[in-house]
């Protein structure tokens, strides 16, 4: 029962994260959440890992959430919602509940790539009927912009500041989306709020698939990225168009790129507007720009090969 994703239809739907929350203006996270919830035609219950989204959306006695919502701790959003979903199955089996309900977990990159990875992996392996959404702003923002394993190479963070000896982060991003795909779960996808139709289609698709689903969504943070307040959508678009954040999905093991930039932009287009990469544009750090571009080209090539070879194999993803 997928509803049409037209602006006309969507404008009739209730926004399930109310305004008045205390996220920074221009933050990408509430936009991501609103899009995800807007794409859901079923009742949804959510868990939320500790982080910017959580601390700013439910400060006693107020809540911005119009859906049932639970925050437990930082590293356990997946385990928490797995408990909620299991209780749902138990009560349903006993005939005490009959409604169709969907379950979702929201976690930041720190709460997902790092401290919550075990909890997420466990929940996915156990096969709970749930969707995990990582809103990836590429650092621990709530505690003040510390590096995470999602932080890009070279970025300036408060725990790996760009100094006169160390030029910011000197480790590569972890490719979490691939790690989740390696769980052989039925649906894994990457999305961006700049491509809202693509994002919402993926959420709709996820709800029609039984079992564990994972979506990684880029979520610009103007505080941590040191960018203009109103640039969240612009930057997430540049992330996609430079292939820093390719849009693709892996459905039952079959990879499909869902958006191919007409012209792949150079990574510097994404880096330039962000203060966290400012130091990379000095002569002695030129090698980092080169490395970043090479890494992206290699991964984009790999991804294209992965999706095209599967197409040749005869499957035709919808």
């Amino acid at each position: 029962m997928r509803k049409l994703l037209t602006l006309k239809e969507l404008s009739k739907k209730e926004i399930l994260l109310s305004s008045g929350h205390r996220l920074c203006s221009g933050c990408g996270a509430p936009t991501v959440v609103k899009m995800v919830l807007l794409a859901s035609d079923y009742p949804v219950i959510a868990s939320n890992a500790t982080g910017c989204l959580e601390v700013s959306s439910c400060i006693s006695d107020y809540t911005a959430w119009k859906i049932p919502w639970i925050h437990n701790a930082f590293e356990n959003a997946a385990a928490t919602i797995s408990g909620v979903e299991t209780m749902y199955r138990s009560l349903k089996k006993q005939g005490k509940i009959d409604k169709e309900i969907k379950f979702i977990a929201f976690g930041g990159d720190g709460g997902t790539y790092d401290i919550g990875l075990q909890s997420l992996s466990g929940a996915m392996e156990r096969g709970h009927d749930m969707l995990y959404i990582c809103y990836d702003n590429e650092a621990y923002m709530n505690t003040g912009i510390q590096r995470s394993s999602a932080t890009p190479y070279g970025a300036d963070t408060t725990t790996r500041p760009a100094g006169s000896v160390i030029p910011g982060k000197t480790e590569q991003r972890k490719n979490l989306t691939r790690i989740m795909a390696a769980h052989n779960i039925p649906y894994v996808a990457q999305a961006s709020p700049s491509h809202w139709m693509d994002l919402m289609k993926k959420v709709q698709k996820a709800w029609e698939i039984k079992g564990p689903k994972f979506m990684n969504i880029i979520s610009p943070c103007n505080r941590g990225w040191r960018s203009r307040t109103d640039d969240a959508i612009l930057l997430s678009r540049l992330a996609v168009e430079t292939c820093h954040w390719p849009l693709y999905e892996i459905e039952n093991g079959v990879t499909r790129i869902t958006f191919k930039p007409k012209e792949k932009k150079p990574i510097v287009d994404f880096l330039k507007p962000q203060g966290r990469f400012k130091h990379l544009f000095s002569f002695e750090n030129e090698w980092i720009l080169k490395k970043l571009q090479e890494d992206i080209d290699r991964e984009w090539k790999r991804l294209q090969k992965e999706s095209s070879s599967e197409k040749e194999g005869g499957s035709s993803p919808s």
Partner: protein, 393 residues
């Protein structure tokens, strides 16, 4: 009609859980608890319960998923020991702070390092101030009875707090004892139906669990939690009274053994209390007025009642199967000392640390301690206020 059986502590508790038939159970293996959850899992596989299992990847996720399941709205259990309880520590506070009536048997075991899988109380004693209710059990029968009563206590409308049922690793969990089961029907009627307040699954009334509370209201919230804790004793007694009607077995906040007219006494929790009672009898036979107090409701600790029960003695030794390192006393000693402090006339109080990492506690140890107490009662002089017993120099 009660059924008399010979079974282990783990099996007894597993049966109590089967009889209650909870909605969700999270399970993860750790010695000496493992076999309790294994047994429960086989009840699930054989369709003897309606419970859905969550076979988690860690105890941290066990407690995390219990929090989710309980908030969702239903009866939730898990069980653990030692390192597993330590790994849950963060979420123990969240379970109690969120007022979720989760039930968790803890099969007491030592903590690493050094690694040791045998019984002592370091695990649950370390979690004594997490806001959970703790019921301690001397034997399989008590562990079984406490487990059944725990549901009524946890789910009482004035309480709504999680409960740990503590039993000694191996000594009780793996030894076969005689005990009596209640009928399934009797247990089910005793615990009754459970209804969660504000369940997450109630779509008609969407609620938010786990808010951020700033300094403007955090303290009021904590005070409210403390006030709830102060109501636990009376609920424990009320439930015990109902349980006695059903089973004929009497429970209180603690058990006193030949304590009323005693001059010297031991305070000791769990299995070692049984051994100690035998030795108290021997001393009584010799005309020495010995007695014993065995805490049952250890958290929230019934300070007033405990102090009243002990204040008339001349000398008391608290035996702790866990230590609070750094020259301080064992945890039970600290609570007993607090319960007696307000009295002008009070017993001399000494502390012995015994049985760590499964070291045997034998009648001769109780005998040595009681002899020392008799001497202290006579002379009023104490050689050492705190000492490890049955240990190499």
């Amino acid at each position: 009609m009660a059924k008399i059986v010979a079974i282990t502590g783990n099996e007894a508790v597993a049966h109590a859980l089967r009889q209650v038939d909870p909605d969700v159970c999270a399970a993860y293996p750790i010695t000496p608890q493992t076999d309790m959850m294994q047994r429960f899992s086989s009840f699930v596989s054989d369709g003897l319960v309606k419970t859905e299992l969550i076979l988690v990847e860690s105890e941290h996720s066990a407690m995390s998923s219990c929090v989710g399941a309980s908030a969702a709205g239903g009866r939730v259990i898990t069980a653990t020991s030692s390192q597993g309880l330590a790994l849950m520590w963060e979420i123990l506070f969240i379970a109690s702070g969120t007022r979720l009536p989760i039930i968790m048997p803890v099969v007491n075991r030592a903590l690493s390092a050094p690694l040791n899988i045998h019984g002592d109380h370091s695990d649950a004693m370390g979690a004594r101030d997490t806001g959970w209710i703790q019921l301690w059990s001397e034997n399989a029968q008590e562990a079984y009875d406490n487990t059944i009563q725990a549901f009524r206590i946890a789910e009482h409308m004035d309480i709504r707090l999680p409960v740990m049922i503590c039993l000694d690793g191996f000594i009780i969990s793996h030894s076969i004892e005689r005990m009596e089961y209640l009928e399934d029907e009797e247990v089910r009627n005793f615990v009754g139906e459970f209804k969660q307040l504000n369940p997450l699954l109630d779509l008609g009334h969407p609620v938010s669990y786990g808010p951020l509370i700033l300094p403007d209201y955090y303290m009021e919230y904590r005070k409210a939690q403390d006030e709830v804790a102060s109501k636990v004793s009376s609920v424990v007694l009320e439930v015990a009274e109902d349980f006695e009607k059903l089973s004929g077995r009497k429970y209180g906040l603690f058990e006193t053994y030949r304590l009323e007219d005693a001059e010297i006494g031991l305070v000791i929790v769990n299995s070692a209390a049984g051994t100690s009672k035998d030795v108290v009898d021997e001393f009584r036979d010799r005309g020495i007025k010995a007695g014993l107090l065995k805490p049952r409701l250890y958290r929230p600790f019934p300070y007033k009642e405990t102090g009243e029960a002990l204040k008339h003695l001349k000398a008391v030794c608290v035996l702790d199967r866990a230590d609070a390192f750094g020259g301080s006393f064992g945890p039970v000693y600290l609570d007993i000392a607090t319960s007696l402090y307000q009295y002008k006339k009070k017993p001399i109080l000494i502390n012995k640390i015994y049985g760590l990492g499964g070291r045997d506690y034998l009648p001769e140890h109780a005998e040595l301690v009681l002899n020392e107490l008799a001497e202290i009662a006579k002379t009023g002089t104490v050689k050492s206020y705190k000492e490890y017993i049955s240990v190499r120099e």
